[in-house]
Assembly symmetry: C2
Homo-oligomer: 235 residues x 2
């Protein structure tokens, strides 16, 4: 089977890895930036550390639910969209038979084939209802069939990754009662986590791991700085 080692070169990350990336990149970034932002603005408040932890955990709860349920609905919408488009195609190859045959022919005409050359392939594709609909879904609409059980798994993976990611920047504030020290440790721990995460993400998505690590650190750093400045300005 010479095709197997050949195929492996085209690396595409599995969907569960993408869900971890989606959840964790925001989970590491937003609670980190929020906590850093607030801690600068309220450092003199006697309950500063507790306020930062309260806001941070509230953000993790809100963010993980918003992203998890958002991911669930997006996956459900994909499934419903695919099903309704497929039904429409099934109807159309009966009701608009000639138009649909012409649409198959057009695909091959665009590859420079003459009507005589394409006749057998058009006949083979339009000769079987399932293969015809499959062809239209992929070629006319560019839609791939979504996996039916993905919605729930996707939602849980995204939400869990957000929670795990978000607890990393908050841990120092939870463990240390001094908000200033909490901030320093949070910045250190989170930038390190962002760099490792970006590096791993880079390996999975096929971009340079160093570039991947740099990107996530820059995003996290910019978000934290913006939150810090805005909170300072209005307090």
């Amino acid at each position: 089977m010479p095709a197997t080692p050949h195929m492996e070169h085209h690396f595409t990350a599995p969907e569960s890895v993408r869900d971890v990336v989606i959840g964790m990149s925001d989970g590491l970034t937003v609670p980190f930036a929020l906590a850093a932002g607030i801690s600068g603005a309220i450092a003199t408040n006697p309950h500063a550390s507790q306020l930062v932890v309260t806001a941070g955990l509230a953000e993790i709860a809100a963010g993980s639910i918003a992203m998890g349920l958002g991911g669930y609905l997006a996956a459900r919408t994909d499934i419903e969209h695919y099903a309704s488009e497929r039904e429409r195609e099934v109807r159309e190859i009966v009701e608009l038979r000639d138009v649909e045959i012409e649409e198959v022919a057009k695909v091959f005409r665009d590859y420079g084939m003459t009507d005589a050359e394409m006749a057998p392939v058009v006949k083979a594709i339009t000769g079987n209802e399932k293969s015809w609909v499959d062809f239209m879904m992929r070629f006319e609409l560019g839609l791939e069939e979504p996996q039916p059980k993905r919605a729930r798994t996707s939602a849980l993976t995204i939400a869990a990754s957000y929670v795990v990611g978000g607890l990393i920047p908050l841990a120092p504030y939870i463990l240390l009662s001094d908000v200033q020290r909490g901030l320093y440790y949070s910045v250190g721990v989170t930038l390190l986590a962002l760099a490792v995460f970006g590096w791993v993400k880079g390996r999975f998505t096929g971009i340079n791991p160093f570039k991947g690590g740099l990107q996530t650190v820059v995003i996290g750093g910019l978000a934290a700085m913006a939150a810090f400045l805005i909170a300072k300005l209005i307090s």
Copy 2:
């Protein structure tokens, strides 16, 4: 042109609409839930209203940057991924010519065609380098060519939508100095905004607008309740 009215039935939202949806659904939900969560926990604090606004604006800054830059990098990664896979295919149709011809043939064999029937179409596709690579990109890898200028537009649209969405739930806390009244108005205004947004989103994505409105309201409500309960518990 009978194909034009026919094509219009397959509605797919333009990508800018998707970016607005991505930014605004989280922008309406997370700052809303965060503000509601904190306001319950710190209602007795004399600076409660200001703390809610500080945390809310810090969250909007962090969230819009994280999502906007995240969207930018995702679009850049798509573009780079497509380009590198395309280069590889261009190389492979020279270096692994027989394997690649067999891969084209396999697509048509899966449609039930015999080798004799598919000979002209395989010849036509593999006869021209560009059409061959186009075919492999779409059929073997299922990749569509990304629009090169999308990354920046996408980032700005997502970030701006997040800011606009996030200012809606915060407005009552900014305008009213009483955090309790701010919370009531914020809940009312935001649930209404979520319903309208979900309704409009439903119309664009082709799902039932009432169902769309209900979904966004439920997500926002659940996120806010979770944030509220967590903040209450630990304060």
